[in-house]
Every structure is written in structure tokens, then in C-alpha cells.
């Protein structure tokens, strides 16, 4: 693997993990806040 291959692997892993973390957190937040609204109605 070339030097740029190692750089691409490091950035790829980090950006993918950050995106998955943000999406999972957003989904948990939206689901929980929607449940509060549903119970209020």
C-alpha cells in the first residue's frame, strides 16, 4: 500500500464511523422525542 493508501484508509474509517455515530444518535433522538409527542396527544 502506498502512503496515500494509508491516509485514505485512516480518513475513510474516521468519516464513516463519525457519520454512523451521528445518524444513530439523530435517529434515537427523533424516535424518543416523537414518543413524547405521541403520549401528549
Amino acid at each position: 500500500m502506498t502512503h496515500w493508501g494509508f491516509v485514505a484508509a485512516a480518513y475513510g474509517v474516521t468519516l464513516t464511523a463519525a457519520a454512523v455515530l451521528a445518524l444513530a444518535s439523530w435517529r434515537a433522538m427523533v424516535t424518543a422525542e416523537r414518543a413524547v409527542e405521541d403520549l401528549r396527544r
Partner: protein
């Protein structure tokens, strides 16, 4: 200010508009830093292009350790003032902190292979960071078990404070032990890294920190909402 924010309704009033601002500003600042680090800086005379891994490795290490500091501070606030939001904050920090600690280990390993000739070395810095990752996992399991059994959150809070013993060990491991990992290169008084290479790091550090804060706010909002649902269901059951 701390006492004012401890009110969940007041917290939500501030957190709702703040969440997207932190997330998107974090993404924007990180993008500027990554662009600078990948396109606008010269390769290192020894490491070549692999030095560009620094712009993501250092922020992940910073937030892996910073996350645990946040857990410890929230735990102290919870134990001293019994603010339930402090316990929520500690639980909300745990998963992103564990993810960033893991990313620190993975990006460090990818950086180590072409630089040191090995993916892993059982030296002070790497081993203590791996221990922090395991301590995060233990905290997540403990906090979940405590919540499921109706605990008052004191045991995870004590664990959160006890875990801080690892932070100075990680910080000074490169000084105390002979290690493959480089010594401290950025301090309060300056840096041994040339400014031509260093500047994008501040952008990625700021961007990753704001992104981390945005994720923590989303997780806190989810936990507060879950508590409200539980409380309402309990009232309906009576």
C-alpha cells in the same frame, strides 16, 4: 448557570436550536482542516504523506480523553448537587467517547504501520489508550445495568470519577516509559511541529470538538425524552 441549566425544560429550550448549529459548524470547520491537511500542506521530510493522518488522529485522541473528563466532571456534579441532567450528560458522552477512543487506536495503528513498521506495540501510550477504551465499554455496560435495575446512578458516577486515573497515565506515558510513540509535540508554550504543517490541526480539532458536542446534545435529548416517556407511562399505570 449550572443550576439554571439543570432544569430539563430550560435545557431543551437551549439544546434544540444549538444541536444543528454545533453539528454543521463542526462539519464545516473539520472540512476546512481536512482540505488544508490533504491539499495545502507539504509532506513531512521523514514521514512523507502519512503525516496527514495527524489531522484526524490527534482530534480523536483529544476527544477520547476529553470525553472521559466530561464524564468525570458530570459525575462529580451529579454526586455533589444531585442534578439528574449531569447523570444524563455522563451517559450521553460515553458512546461518542468510546467511538473516538477506538478511532484514535485505529488511525494510530494505520499511521504506525508505514512509520514504525508495525500495526501495534504494547508500549505505555498505546496500551493505556486501549485501557481507556475498555473502561468506556465497562462504563456503558454499568450505566445501562444501573438504569435497568432502577439504580440512582451513584455507582456509574463513582466509576466515572475513578476512571480519571487513566488520563494522567496516558498523558505522561511518553515521558515515564521508553516508547515508540513520539513525545509531547504541542504544549501551552509552543509546538515542535513546523507551522506550515500545524495550522490545519486547529481547524480539525475545533471541528471535531463541536461535532462531538452536537452528538452529545442529541444523545442527551434522546435520554431526557426517554425519561419523560417512562415517567408518563408510570403515571398512566397508577
Amino acid at each position: 448557570m449550572l443550576h439554571a441549566l439543570a432544569n430539563p425544560t430550560r435545557f431543551l429550550k437551549i439544546a434544540r436550536p444549538l444541536t444543528p448549529i454545533l453539528l454543521w459548524l463542526g462539519v464545516a470547520l473539520f472540512a476546512v482542516g481536512a482540505w488544508g491537511g490533504l491539499m495545502r500542506t507539504p509532506p513531512d521530510y521523514l514521514q512523507g504523506e502519512t503525516v496527514r493522518i495527524m489531522y484526524i488522529h490527534v482530534p480523536t485522541a483529544w476527544l477520547g480523553m476529553g470525553g472521559w473528563s466530561g464524564i468525570a466532571i458530570s459525575s462529580i456534579v451529579f454526586l455533589v448537587w444531585r442534578h439528574p441532567l449531569a447523570s444524563v450528560a455522563a451517559r450521553a458522552i460515553a458512546v461518542p467517547g468510546a467511538v473516538f477512543a477506538a478511532l484514535c487506536l485505529v488511525t494510530g495503528s494505520i499511521w504506525g504501520r508505514p512509520t514504525w513498521g508495525t500495526w501495534w506495540q504494547w508500549d505505555g501510550r498505546l496500551t493505556s489508550m486501549l485501557l481507556l477504551f475498555f473502561v468506556y465499554l465497562a462504563y456503558i455496560a454499568l450505566a445501562r445495568a444501573d438504569h435497568d435495575r432502577g439504580g440512582d446512578g451513584r455507582i456509574p458516577a463513582i466509576f466515572g470519577i475513578a476512571g480519571t486515573v487513566l488520563l494522567p497515565i496516558i498523558r505522561y506515558s511518553v515521558t515515564w516509559w521508553n516508547t515508540l510513540h513520539q513525545g509531547q509535540s504541542i504544549g501551552l508554550t509552543g509546538s515542535t511541529i513546523d507551522s506550515a504543517i500545524l495550522w490545519p490541526l486547529f481547524w480539525t480539532l475545533a471541528g471535531a470538538s463541536l461535532f462531538f458536542a452536537g452528538v452529545v446534545l442529541m444523545r442527551m435529548r434522546a435520554l431526557v425524552a426517554a425519561q419523560r416517556v417512562e415517567a408518563r407511562l408510570r403515571r398512566l399505570a397508577v
